[in-house]
Symmetry: C2
Subunit: 108 residues, 2 copies
């Protein structure tokens, strides 16, 4: 488990009904293609993810066919468990009176 992998699982788990494809996941996770696709391939190899080509005529659609990714039942369970473990690293952030807590995105 690495942070890019966790981001992909998080995006897929956020709305299990949605059909996700590469470019979509790149935007959701903020990961570049050179990171995202190896992650997707590893998740498939692990049996957590399935991939299917969209059945569409590129000429008619005016764009290349998409490859849709969806979590397997095993993947859903494993993803939930993995994300819960990550969540446990962070201490419970109870609301603080007058606290100017920084909330912007880190510069990772």
């Amino acid at each position: 488990m690495t942070i890019p992998v966790a981001k992909v699982l998080s995006a897929l788990l956020a709305d299990p009904a949605a059909e996700r494809y590469g470019l979509d996941l790149m935007k959701l996770t903020g990961l570049p293609s050179g990171t995202l696709y190896p992650v997707l391939h590893r998740l498939q190899a692990a049996g957590w993810l399935l991939a299917d080509w969209e059945e569409v005529d590129p000429a008619a659609a005016g764009r290349p066919a998409r490859r849709y990714y969806r979590l397997t039942a095993e993947g859903v369970g494993a993803a939930r468990q993995a994300l819960a473990e990550l969540r446990a690293l962070s201490p419970d952030p109870r609301p603080r009176r007058g606290g100017a807590e920084p909330t912007g995105a880190p510069a990772w």
Copy 2:
């Protein structure tokens, strides 16, 4: 930010008053020395962490001197922010009636 780094920050942040040293952090984080020490060196280089040798006579103490690590003010803020970001990847786990949610540690 990587998961081993997050584990170290989590351990240091859990009790900011405690004096933490290498072997101590190895046990708290479960990281081997070959992972932990490079992480500590990188955190020092980033200005998030300070390190000081324990002032003790090894012969009298019956053990080698320890090197104590503590977060800088910048490190505390950055660590909190980084861990909050990780936490945000996981959907809010509201309690579920009768749900047999897996809660054991993942096999990462």
